[in-house]
């Protein structure tokens, strides 16, 4: 029997709902992102955004999937990691639906879901994953029953670094895509701190140095160009270290920053050098969205894991390597 899972995602500034079948078909994937007029994401405002747009997005996801609520066999939700208020709003919606529709509830790890939707799309079995977004920068690979974090940022995430820099340069949120466009016009490279420590890295020094370039009057395109080349070069290096160390033969790029074409170009070069296959998760599945939660929910449910409402408190600090992966 084909199962239909409704996945609900709301760990940070985006709220999403998607319907995926147990055959791995994405029937719908609706989302909305909070775009503050100024400044960054405030957790309280983001959670308010989720409760305001949530019901509509879920209704749209059901409609687009051309099913009714009665066809939903299980509800999956992003239990963590993320911003507490956002997680709680999302979990409340999921619990309500699970009780109302009398279907099982499945708790999904947001980071693991990013990897699994990438594996579904790419048909990869066992990749080294570069997961890059506003909140996360991790190099992950499966080993011994868990997704292990081989490397990660020691301070700020790459997406965060790009967005904050964008704000300094007078760009709107999110800054990353605008930085990519500006970088194409840049031809002069300025030295920036290149900070790789084993398979970990650090971006805060680069952010400070880039701000300094701006205050010295260096043109925006040159700053964007230099920041992209340096920060992506660092990612390439730790991805290479992870491939060389684990000897895996697939490289997966996912998360919101996966939409960047220059990063994609660099990492596909890395894969080629190590004779690994490369896949960049397509834009609609790369950012935070409900389809990945739904698909992970199916994997988890089929492996016998669901959660009772009374035990379903959110886990804002749920690490990627904290969950036993029962389906692999």
């Amino acid at each position: 029997m084909t199962l239909h899972c409704l996945g609900i995602e709301g760990t940070a500034h985006s709220f999403g709902a998607g319907v995926v079948t147990s055959d791995g078909k994405v029937l719908s994937n609706e989302w909305d992102m909070l775009k503050p007029d100024q400044g960054g994401i405030h957790p309280r405002e983001a959670s308010r955004h989720h409760s305001e747009v949530g019901p509509d997005i879920i209704r749209k996801a059901i409609q687009k999937a051309a099913i009714g609520f009665q066809d939903i066999d299980l509800i999956a939700f992003s239990r963590g990691p993320g911003l507490g208020p956002c997680l709680r709003t999302t979990a409340t919606i999921a619990r309500t639906l699970s009780l109302k529709l009398e279907v099982p509830l499945v708790d999904v790890n947001h980071c693991v879901a990013h990897i699994e939707i990438g594996c579904l799309e790419s048909t990869f079995n066992d990749p080294v994953t570069v997961y890059v977004s506003g909140g996360n920068t991790q190099i992950i690979a499966f080993a011994g029953g868990r997704f292990r974090t081989f490397g990660e940022t020691l301070d700020i995430a790459i997406g965060n670094m790009l967005d904050v820099l964008g704000r300094e340069l007078g760009m709107g949120f999110p800054g990353g895509p605008i930085i990519e466009i500006e970088a194409k016009k840049g031809e002069v490279y300025h030295n920036l701190p290149y900070s790789v420590k084993g398979m970990d890295l650090s971006y805060s020094g680069m952010l400070t140095a880039a701000k300094k370039l701006y205050s010295e009057g260096v043109p925006t395109p040159e700053i964007c160009y230099s920041v992209q080349e340096t920060s992506f070069g660092m990612l390439a290096e730790i991805a290479e270290r992870a491939i060389a160390h684990t000897k895996k033969s697939e490289l997966l790029l996912t998360g919101g920053v996966a939409r960047n074409n220059r990063l994609t170009e660099i990492l596909s070069g890395v894969a080629e050098r190590h004779e690994a296959e490369f896949h960049r998760v397509s834009p609609s599945l790369a950012g935070d969205q409900g389809a990945m939660i739904a698909w992970n929910g199916i994997l988890q449910f089929n492996a016998g894991r669901q959660i009772e409402v009374e035990n379903s408190h959110v886990l804002p600090k749920w690490r990627t390597d904290d969950q036993d992966i029962l389906w692999r």
Binding site: A143, E152, G198
Partner: protein
């Protein structure tokens, strides 16, 4: 005769035979997907750094391959070939007591570096070679640095912790404990600030 021993993250390692002896040739190839300015700077600085730090580390009592020649334009280093097994591979094969004594040895070598204010920069079990007489050698000094601060030493220990939890997850506690024991054996109470910095750095990562 030239045989590819390993294709590392930033280099290709060849084994060559000359004058009846075996040597390693480490070649940092160009990476066409990186910006040329960055790539050539990294290749050059890491090649020269590695040569220097292999020697500096040996002067601190840490067994490292001796360097015979270096070509900074081609980014190549010719050094001793160490006949042995990567610690990474050995860890799962030896008895518990052998594992403990190897880890203590590993910790001692890292302590000797830190005592001389040197950090390795990538202290994974892939970069430790155990030779036929159970002697441990450290290789791959491309990320190594001198004049190390407390923070840099803390990062070095943090990287050991990370390497153990990702690569030796089923043995990680035994391995971490005995590695740190070896570390403290050498440094005594002066190890304390570095150990607490290691924990602090780990908690700076996401979701701890």
């Amino acid at each position: 005769m030239k045989e590819v021993l390993a294709r590392g993250a930033e280099s290709v390692i060849y084994k060559i035979e000359e004058w009846g002896f075996s040597f390693v040739l480490k070649w940092r190839q160009a990476k066409p997907y990186l910006l040329k300015d960055i790539d050539s700077h990294l290749r050059k600085s890491r090649t020269s750094r590695e040569c220097k730090m292999l020697t500096v580390s040996r002067s601190l009592g840490v067994p490292t391959p001796a360097v015979y020649s270096v070509d900074l334009d081609k980014h190549m280093i010719m050094m001793d070939f160490i006949s042995g097994t990567q610690f990474k591979q050995l860890a799962g094969q030896v008895s518990r007591s052998d594992l403990i004594s190897l880890c203590r040895g590993f910790g001692k070598l890292i302590a000797l570096l830190h005592e001389g204010n040197v950090v390795h920069g990538d202290p994974t079990t892939s970069n430790i070679i155990v030779d036929d007489r159970s002697r441990m050698w450290i290789v791959d000094f491309g990320l190594s640095e001198m004049n190390a601060t407390l923070e840099m030493k803390g990062v070095d220990l943090h990287l050991i912790h990370r390497a153990l939890e990702t690569t030796h997850w089923d043995l990680q506690e035994t391995m971490l404990d005995s590695t740190l024991e070896g570390y403290v054996d050498v440094l005594g109470s002066t190890a304390e600030p570095t150990l607490s910095r290691m924990k602090e750095i780990r908690e700076r990562g996401r979701y701890h």
